[in-house]
């Protein structure tokens, strides 16, 4: 976490009481049916892109979001997508289903101004994680998974902010604490933490177990440090990639008030087989990648 917490903390418009009530009444969103349909097409022998395109086009904001994704310089296509069908052809079904998940998650949770920057930070971390996955060329670290993971990793924070008005102060203290794990501070106040809540949400969205476990343990140093911690190797790589991505974002956007990199950084670099001296080069490369995310 925590680039994200910074953003949430820096902007605190008073939420209207009525709006607050309506947020509290909100049910935890299930995974949108459209993702299941796309997955079903992916599983068939000859996927029907036209059919998937029609499904996506029904939801205008989803269609617009997908076209924007395809045109993002991150993917480096020379052609520009003008329709959902173009975007589908360019991205393929796998990336499409992940992009749809990203857009839907954002739509599903209420989107008042203060969460807007939260999602922005998540998107940066997601793109940078998947870029790191490509850079390290680790066969157990799949770039698509790293992207999905980056988006969902901190979604627990969004839900806790909606449900618990006092959570904002807890976030501040968790960010500042140099001794305890981030989640330990949250547990003192609420007997739960954003990693656990995020894991529950990811399960609710039928994400693969490796991603759910990586969300659950992303502040848990012993789980990522030891190969026999019970956490699958692929989950540990996901945690390492996203924590490193977050650190890079913080470096490039002018530092942060958080302590996570000092607690987890060395473990992450070791897992990714990077040295601290590799970081400056990564900062430069990442800057170009981040310029493509808005």
């Amino acid at each position: 976490m925590t680039e994200i917490a910074d953003n949430v903390l820096s902007e605190r418009p008073a939420i209207d009481r009525v709006l607050e009530q309506s947020l509290r009444d909100l049910d935890i969103p299930p995974r949108p049916l459209i993702i299941d349909r796309i997955k079903a097409e992916m599983g068939s022998a000859s996927p029907n892109l036209r059919y998937v395109g029609q499904l996506i086009s029904v939801d205008v904001s989803l269609a617009a979001g997908l076209i924007k994704t395809a045109n993002s310089p991150y993917f480096g296509f020379r052609n520009r997508a003008r329709s959902v069908h173009d975007a589908l052809l360019m991205l393929g079904l796998d990336v499409t289903s992940r992009a749809v998940a990203a857009i839907s998650l954002r739509q599903a949770l209420p989107n008042n101004g203060q969460l807007e920057r939260f999602w922005g930070a998540s998107a940066q971390i997601a793109v940078l994680s998947s870029w790191l996955a490509q850079q390290t060329a680790n066969p157990r670290l799949h770039a698509g998974d790293a992207y999905t993971y980056g988006l969902f990793r901190d979604c627990g924070i969004a839900v806790l902010l909606i449900r618990l008005p006092a959570y904002r102060q807890t976030l501040e203290r968790a960010n500042a604490n140099t001794d305890l794990a981030f989640t330990a501070v949250e547990q003192q106040d609420f007997r739960t933490d954003h990693a656990m809540v995020g894991c529950l949400l990811a399960q609710n969205w039928w994400l693969p177990e490796e991603i759910c476990l990586a969300i659950r343990h992303h502040h848990d140093r012993s789980a990522i440090d030891f190969f026999d911690s019970g956490l699958p190797a692929s989950s540990r790589y996901l945690v390492a990639a996203s924590q490193t991505a977050e650190h890079i974002v913080q470096q490039l956007t002018g530092g942060s008030r958080t302590q996570e990199w000092s607690k987890l950084g060395s473990s992450c670099l070791r897992l990714l087989r990077l040295a601290a001296s590799d970081l400056p080069e990564l900062y430069r490369g990442a800057e170009a990648v981040l310029a493509t995310v808005d």
Partner: protein
């Protein structure tokens, strides 16, 4: 005179070496089995025969467990005696035509022509039993054991490959702790989450992952009615579907336990159950929801965080949630489990003991458990009202539960006469087909709404 062509060699003193019989270059002197070199040659011949005659050939690799300790305690002579005695036992067990060989200090390989998978397994089991019998060396009784790997040759396989498969199976048997048998092909493989699984478990694991990633889990709901007809609670029952077919819990639960996926299944139920409780609240029919919890979940130090996470996500008062524990769970109340159960109660979440009466729970554990509800196993209910002894037990258990401050519920009520007998026994509430079958969430919401309007 012709000299005799033969001249005796000059006399020399007899040495110790000369008293030894000449060793057969093919046999192991201690066991009389073929030695390693001869054993390999025999394997080559038998495999070739088996390949041409298309009859199976079994390779049984026997490795004596902890043999180094025997050598260290009794010296090499003692070790040799143990090997000789075990070789004798092996010879008595095998009634098939067989080539015996000793391939290493504590290793034997048996090659059995014309034996199939099942017979070879049976033979290897008999070997295990026979080798395990206590054995006397000097005045000390030791209990030897062996790890056995068995491979049946596949037509066209070369002898080295066959022996390697038997050896790998033996190594696996050793890894599992020794004194056991592993058939080649049954060695565990690594599953997706890095856990060792047998071949058929691997298939179940991948079906489970498929279910988890394609929305293959579902909760069904069954109401529990109190004596006066109110809905006392609703139990959530998990169903698992893979590739459009329901998966039998008896098949997937053991694999889920091994891989740790059981925690995910439990937490998924927890969140969906609390969400359903919240929906019931929102439609104006707040009802207690009972969610099943597994042993693995309660053993996890993060159980309380998961419970609170679900309560907060769903935004539901803790008093509307009840966790159901199976009786087997209370048999073994570890520190973590007890602490988790205590905290659960402190928060205000209820605790029910499921399927009570048929397991082995002892009453002292019942005393220590902060449970709020006791659910009597359906086995007692099915035989009511005719079985007076069952009736007496139900009555006594009901009294016991109520005296401990619990609500007592009977499971599996199917007829009106059963219900009347339960009322007579003093049971507080009941659950079963008589009241309602398990139904989907939407059906439940409608069912509750309809009752509300009446």
């Amino acid at each position: 005179m012709i000299d005799h062509p033969y001249r005796p060699p000059p006399e020399r003193p007899q040495r110790y070496f000369d008293t030894m019989p000449v060793a057969d270059p093919l046999l192991d002197p201690i066991t009389g089995f073929l030695n390693r070199k001869a054993g390999l040659r025999a394997a080559a011949i038998l495999v070739a025969e088996s390949n041409t005659s298309h009859t199976p050939l079994g390779a049984i690799w026997v490795d004596i467990d902890r043999f180094r300790q025997v050598n260290e305690s009794f010296g090499h002579r003692g070790g040799d005696r143990v090997i000789a005695l075990i070789a004798e036992r092996i010879r008595t067990v095998v009634r098939h035509q067989c080539e015996y060989s000793r391939t290493g200090s504590d290793e034997f390989v048996l090659l059995v022509p014309a034996i199939d998978h099942a017979d070879a397994e049976q033979l290897a089991r008999r070997l295990l039993v026979e080798i395990e019998r206590p054995l006397r060396i000097d005045t000390i009784l030791i209990r030897p054991s062996a790890s056995i790997g068995v491979a049946i040759n596949q037509i066209g396989e070369n002898p080295i490959a066959l022996l390697e498969r038997a050896d790998r199976a033996m190594v696996e048997a050793k890894r599992q702790g020794g004194n056991r048998l592993v058939m080649s092909g049954d060695e565990p493989l690594t599953g997706r989450l890095g856990v060792h699984l047998a071949r058929e478990e691997l298939a179940i694991e991948s079906a489970l992952h498929a279910a988890l990633e394609s929305g293959g889990l579902r909760l069904d709901f069954q109401p529990i009615l109190s004596r006066d007809g109110r809905v006392e609670a609703i139990e959530a029952l998990m169903r698992c579907y893979a590739n459009g077919q329901q998966v039998d819990p008896a098949r997937f639960i053991p694999v889920a336990e091994k891989t740790g996926l059981i925690v995910r299944l439990g937490e998924w139920s927890l969140l969906q159950g609390t969400r359903c409780a919240a929906r019931l609240c929102r439609q104006g029919t707040p009802t207690k929801l009972a969610i099943n919890v597994s042993r693995a979940q309660l053993l996890s130090p993060r159980f309380i965080q998961a419970l609170h996470g679900a309560l907060i996500c769903a935004d539901v008062p803790p008093a509307l949630i009840e966790l159901e524990l199976t009786e087997s769970l209370i048999m073994d109340l570890s520190e973590t489990v007890q602490a988790n159960l205590r905290t659960t109660r402190e928060v205000g979440v209820g605790l029910a003991i499921d399927d009570f009466g048929t397991g082995y729970s002892c009453l002292s554990n019942l005393k220590d458990l902060p449970a709020t509800k006791l659910k009597l196993d359906r086995a007692f209910v099915g035989v009511l009202p005719d079985d007076r002894r069952s009736f007496a037990i139900v009555k006594a258990m009901t009294r016991l539960g109520q005296e401990l401050g619990m609500i007592v519920v009977a499971e599996g009520v199917e007829t009106c006469t059963q219900l009347a007998a339960l009322a007579e026994a003093g049971v507080d509430a009941s659950q079963g087909f008589l009241h309602a079958r398990p139904m989907t969430e939407d059906a439940l919401l409608a069912w509750m709404k309809q009752r509300e309007q009446k």
